[in-house]
């Protein structure tokens, strides 16, 4: 196992995850590689079904059992491969050194337990704290995530809070143990833009204060532009392009990245004009071919052999990687 550069907290290489289904084994994540750097935010963007959540679940070892399996690849964290360590070791990392924030806070919260108690649970599981100390810490966390009257809120139940407040509670739980990495899977998708702005600012401030790394999954390119240092663009189970955020917006190479950036309506665009589109639809998992999966939608001329084999991953400028044939790679 290779030693990691000290700047890199998490290295995912060639991660491949599949599900056993009635239609046979389907590969949802197909050889995905990326790094999360210390104290930085990596964004993962792509349309629904492209494998963002399955990637996160694979890292966390939270795949639905027994259908979900990591078939191949490594998830290197602190010198260990999380894909293969014993389940018990993973339990002591999960919620402690790596924690997760989901889109729908109610799925992460227990409706019948007081909020304070739910924060305490994570704390006492991973630390030796007396019940009083844990409660104190829970109230402190609620205060840190901007919940007014935290002592009172700690005694309340999830249904007594608004959506935005619940997401703050989930963040408090995720951050209570001072994780080194937080994986946030569409944390603001269900919220209004005004509340989204609060939550993103909160994550940003906490990251600065606590020095953690964030892996932020979203389909919103605006959120990516504002919060991420690096970006991975996923399509049909693969990372087609990854680069520093400014580079990906200024110099996208893959036809998919370009299509995605061109198709969003922009505030400074000309109203009521035809929007650029990406023709067709994302292919189903059962129809995936080894070659470039975007070829048929790209509107480019293709030689048949490009579609047969997987395209190479090339670093075109430092830190800017594209998995593409020469047509896309040259730009």
């Amino acid at each position: 196992m290779a030693e990691l550069d000290s700047d890199i907290l998490l290295r995912v290489s060639d991660l491949t995850t599949a599900f056993d289904t009635d239609a046979g084994q389907l590969t949802a994540v197909d050889g995905v590689s990326f790094d999360v750097r210390r104290g930085r935010t990596l964004g993962i963007v792509g349309e629904s079904g492209c494998g963002k959540s399955v990637t996160a679940m694979s890292i966390m070892r939270l795949l639905p059992q027994p259908m979900g399996k990591i078939l191949d690849g490594e998830v290197l964290f602190d010198g260990r491969n999380l894909a293969t360590i014993p389940a018990e070791d993973m339990r002591s990392i999960r919620g402690n050194r790596i924690s997760m924030i989901f889109q729908e806070p109610m799925t992460a919260l227990n409706p019948v337990h007081r909020i304070g108690k739910q924060i305490c649970e994570g704390l006492t599981q991973h630390n030796e704290l007396s019940p009083d100390e844990a409660w104190q810490k829970a109230v402190e966390m609620l205060e840190k995530v901007g919940i007014p009257s935290p002592e009172i809120r700690a005694t309340e139940y999830p249904h007594q809070l608004s959506g935005g407040m619940r997401q703050r509670v989930v963040i408090a739980i995720a951050l209570a143990c001072g994780p080194e990495l937080v994986i946030a899977d569409e944390p603001t998708t269900a919220l209004d833009v005004t509340i989204q702005a609060q939550i993103l600012q909160l994550i940003n401030n906490l990251q600065r204060d606590l020095g953690m790394s964030v892996m932020l999954i979203t389909h919103d390119l605006g959120v990516i532009a504002e919060t991420c240092d690096e970006v991975c663009v996923m399509y049909a189970g693969r990372v087609v392009e990854r680069a520093p955020v400014r580079e990906i917006f200024a110099n996208p190479r893959h036809a998919y990245t370009q299509g995605l950036l061109n198709s969003i309506p922009r505030l400074d665009g000309i109203p009521k004009t035809e929007l650029n589109i990406i023709d067709g639809m994302v292919p189903a998992l059962s129809e995936l071919k080894p070659g470039c999966r975007f070829a048929s939608r790209s509107g480019r001329e293709h030689e048949p052999e490009l579609l047969v084999e997987r395209q190479p991953l090339n670093e075109i400028t430092p830190g800017h990687w594209v998995e593409a044939c020469p047509v896309c790679t040259r730009g």
């Binding site: 608004s162 702005a197 504002e226 035809e274 589109i277």
Partner: protein, 328 residues
């Protein structure tokens, strides 16, 4: 804009829902989802409607489509007053105003073929022979970009974007004049979203449709709308041409809402007004400016008790705000 009769106008429209409580489940308060909305939609125009969730956008749309009986106020279709009409009197107007929803799946009967779903409006209105209706369905499917073979299939066999096309085909079947689009692209991925937006813009040009386009995605609304209305707790606080509302927002709420939109440009430095607290509920809203308690500004007490007039501060730019917000 247009000096003739608007397609639709509302006058001090109110839609209040009773909030029940106590042992006897009596109405203990009113949820003032729509609380005095006056607006117009011109022929061929798209009026965008934005605001946070719960501010009353869907209720306003459904009240205009007469799915609800309004609590008070007027709704006129091409100058004809609809409020207070009986079911029978309403019938000729029903086909003129149609609705499309965020999740077309919920509004499409899963046990019917797409052909039967799109044909249904003709059946209800007893139009055409069987073979004529078949022909119309085929034309409608082609118009919204679905293959003819779609008619024999069921909604679950289609993706979200295609289902939205089915919903649109049904909604335009009777050649309505006004389409209420309630978050029609909110559940779709960006690439599919732009396909559906293009379709809506094309149908508008072809059929001369007017749209009330409801969305919480302000970039989408900006792209598709001629004018935009900003709603807060049951009232329209600002209404202006699309470019104007983004370039010169006046109401503190409009400013906060626009500044919260993440811009897909990493070189852009956001100049953001972060609103404190949550979206409030429209139960017992303040009598005066509904946004005052959340605006973070110091306010003279009378602003919380009396509403500022809805004023035209420049041509076509209307604001309901006190002099502090309007800056004069």
């Amino acid at each position: 804009m247009n000096n003739g009769t608007p397609i639709l106008s509302t006058d001090e429209l109110r839609m209040h829902f009773p909030v029940k409580g106590g042992v006897f489940q009596r109405a203990v308060a009113a949820c003032k989802a729509v609380d005095g909305v006056s607006l117009t939609i011109e022929p061929g125009e798209t009026l965008g409607l934005v605001g946070e969730s719960g501010c009353g956008k869907s209720t306003l749309g459904k009240t205009i489509a007469r799915l609800y009986e309004p609590t008070s106020g007027g709704i006129a279709f091409e100058g004809n007053e609809l409020a207070g009409l009986s079911r029978r009197q309403l019938k000729p107007f029903r086909r003129e105003i149609q609705m499309i929803f965020q999740d077309p799946y919920e509004s499409l009967n899963p046990r019917h073929t797409v052909g039967a779903i799109v044909e249904e409006p003709f059946v209800i209105h007893k139009m055409g022979s069987r073979s004529e209706r078949r022909q119309w369905v085929a034309e409608l499917l082609a118009k919204v970009g679905l293959p003819e073979s779609a008619a024999q299939r069921y909604p679950f066999e289609f993706s979200g974007g295609q289902r939205q096309r089915i919903g649109i085909a049904r909604a335009i079947a009777l050649k309505p004049r006004l389409l209420i689009c309630d978050e029609p692209v909110s559940a779709l991925d960006v690439s599919i979203q732009s396909q559906v937006l293009n379709l809506l813009m094309e149908l508008q040009r072809e059929m001369g449709l007017s749209y009330l386009f409801i969305s919480h995605d302000l970039a989408v609304v900006k792209h598709i709308s001629d004018r935009i209305a900003v709603m807060y707790l049951g009232r329209i606080v600002e209404l202006a041409p699309a470019e104007e509302i983004y370039n010169n927002p006046v109401h503190a709420y409009t400013k906060a809402l626009i500044s919260a939109i993440p811009v897909p440009d990493p070189t852009h430095v956001p100049d953001r007004v972060i609103l404190e607290g949550d979206v409030p509920t429209p139960i017992d809203p303040p009598d005066g400016c509904r946004f005052a308690p959340r605006s973070g500004a110091e306010h003279a007490p009378e602003m919380l008790t009396t509403l500022a007039p809805f004023k035209e501060i420049s041509p076509g730019h209307w604001v309901e705000a006190c002099p502090v917000c309007t800056g004069r």
